[in-house]
Subunit: 349 residues, 2 copies
């Protein structure tokens, strides 16, 4: 078994730097497009055999060192009782948006094995089909990032409604976040029970905050989730599963982020990785941080950047190579294949 | 004359901390809406009497310590030969977008007193009407941020076309940037000649880069502009005009930004101001950095944040209070008026 990814998460010595890629199962792959051509996006997420199939594709094609469950961060939101639709141009639409006490009250904290059983089924299929070739990562949106979609009713550029609720109706925000946090905690526990060998919390929009607001309105809920999962694992006497915390724009927030309690911290490309490690502390295990658009460079230039990131990562206790954000649909698969090979070759110890 | 703003720019001692607000002349003000109701946005920019009128409104209403020319960062782009339109929902549209050698070749480096005379006329009117009550700030988009609009054909979320050009056709990008940089240099010189007492370069989208790319593809052109303006002022033996450099997301880039040569560095709200000052060096003069959406807080909470920012700014050589980005249209004018009063009161020395 290639358990290099798990070893790196735990800060153990590895023979090479493991790599996986955010959105590695996705639209840039013709093999994914072929499956996606048969069903719409939500149906793909909810059909365990198909979701497992596209999850495994990048393991075969790219030779990455971990698989990540194919799903969407809005699955738990739908399970909480908000109707979810995906529009080709607008992206996700959640209506009606959460703006008052009444809409918050209507939300439930779902039993994941009931309302999101298809996710756990996908994980169970994957553990069988992967047959320990590489570890399987489960995931969820972090509470704040999940809340933005619920409050805005979809994606947003300015997050005005979300911040307005936080600043003008903090009790309402807090009530909403309590429900989201419980939902995500149970959801991640269920994923771990089903076989996820690591989990990542995506706080894609966490970077819109000042440090003090990030701490109060995003990080505190992440800390609670991580604390609860650890406590539960201790009680169950089960092997601790590494937890990765990814924030979209980390550069101003690292002093706060390092208090998350996560085993691994995702770092985006807008900061030099050695600076990030210095600020997180040299005991940090980091994941990142190539600019996704750098995959449009000629391969010899991609290689220079790979070497640069690997050398900057030398001061960390552990390093998992990744992009600083998801791979974009226009990316050439050949460059992604080349990236994985370069990371493996240049990090060989 | 209230020259507190200019003194702070030069790092001189002031009796209180000066404040102005990005987009202080804008849609959140009913007085602005009244003028804007008569003409469309571009006509407002191009009618010196009206542009001067809305520039002065926030001086009377808010009691800020500087006026900033009412205009748009795309004015020089239109003057270079790209047709510009503003759509109510989509925002600015520039067509056809710059994607190849041919479209770059067609662009000119305009004589600002010819193609953008209305801007200089606005400045000349303003200097008379302001009668030295407060200093007048001129501005331009920085070259990279200006280029994104030209390459994307408008605003963008991912800036994929821009980065793709940079990574795949660096010579084309460089040819485009040379024309933009010359245009902006001449434009700022003309503004200074017409009476601008400080100028700000807006690099709103500079934060999408890794530090190495920011340095190569955004900062290098800003450095050239600042260097050329200084040289020109020396040759003309004129009083040096403070230059402010504002980047949208500074947190990962401060070590690069501090090399810009600007007198003042704008800092956004996603980093604590004392951290930013430490990284820019204690000789830094900084401008910022309240989250614009913090203006939706109750006034007693706004006041806490004002005091916090003022105390964090204590280590800087100079501080100009501002938001970390433009004020949003939904903001209550009363809260902005209160903000200005709080900054003045709590910073009184």
């Amino acid at each position: 078994m290639n358990d290099t990814f798990l070893k790196a998460c735990r800060g153990e010595k590895t023979d090479f730097t493991p790599i996986w890629i955010m959105r590695q199962a996705g639209r840039y792959l013709p093999e994914y497009q072929k499956v996606r051509g048969k069903v719409d996006f939500l149906t793909l997420c909810k059909t365990p055999e198909l979701a497992a199939e596209v999850t495994i594709q990048p393991i075969d094609i790219l030779k990455v060192d971990a698989a990540i469950l194919f799903s969407d961060i809005l699955i738990p939101v739908e399970a909480m009782g908000m109707p979810l639709e995906f529009h080709e141009k607008k992206g996700p639409v959640l209506a009606p948006a959460i703006r008052d006490e009444n809409t918050v009250k209507k939300l439930s904290v779902p039993d994941p094995e009931d309302k999101m059983r298809f996710v756990m089924d996908t994980i169970r299929i994957l553990r069988k089909e992967l047959a320990d070739r590489v570890p399987l990562i489960g995931f969820s949106g972090a509470p704040f990032t999940t809340a933005t979609y619920m409050i805005e009713g979809g994606t947003s550029k300015t997050f005005l409604n979300t911040k307005r609720m936080i600043f003008q109706s903090p009790e309402l925000y807090s009530a909403l976040m309590d429900k989201i946090t419980s939902t995500i905690t149970e959801y991640l526990k269920a994923q771990i029970n089903a076989g996820a060998q690591a989990v990542q919390l995506f706080d894609t929009w966490g970077g819109i905050f000042s440090p003090q607001d990030f701490k109060a309105y995003a990080l505190s809920y992440v800390k609670k989730i991580i604390h609860d999962i650890r406590k539960w694992q201790k009680a169950e006497k089960s092997e601790p599963v590494p937890i990765i915390y990814f924030v979209g724009e980390t550069a101003g927030l690292l002093e706060e982020i390092k208090e998350s309690g996560a085993d691994v911290h995702g770092v985006d490309w807008r900061i030099n990785l050695d600076d990030a490690i210095r600020r997180l502390g040299n005991n940090a295990v980091v994941q990142g941080n190539l600019d996704p658009i750098a995959l449009f460079l000629p391969q010899n230039k991609i290689e220079e950047r790979v070497k640069d990131i690997l050398s900057r990562a030398a001061s960390a206790k552990g390093h998992i190579f990744n992009l600083g954000h998801g791979v974009v649909p226009e990316t050439q698969p050949d460059n992604v294949i080349a990236l994985v090979e370069m990371v493996h070759r240049h990090s060989k110890r």
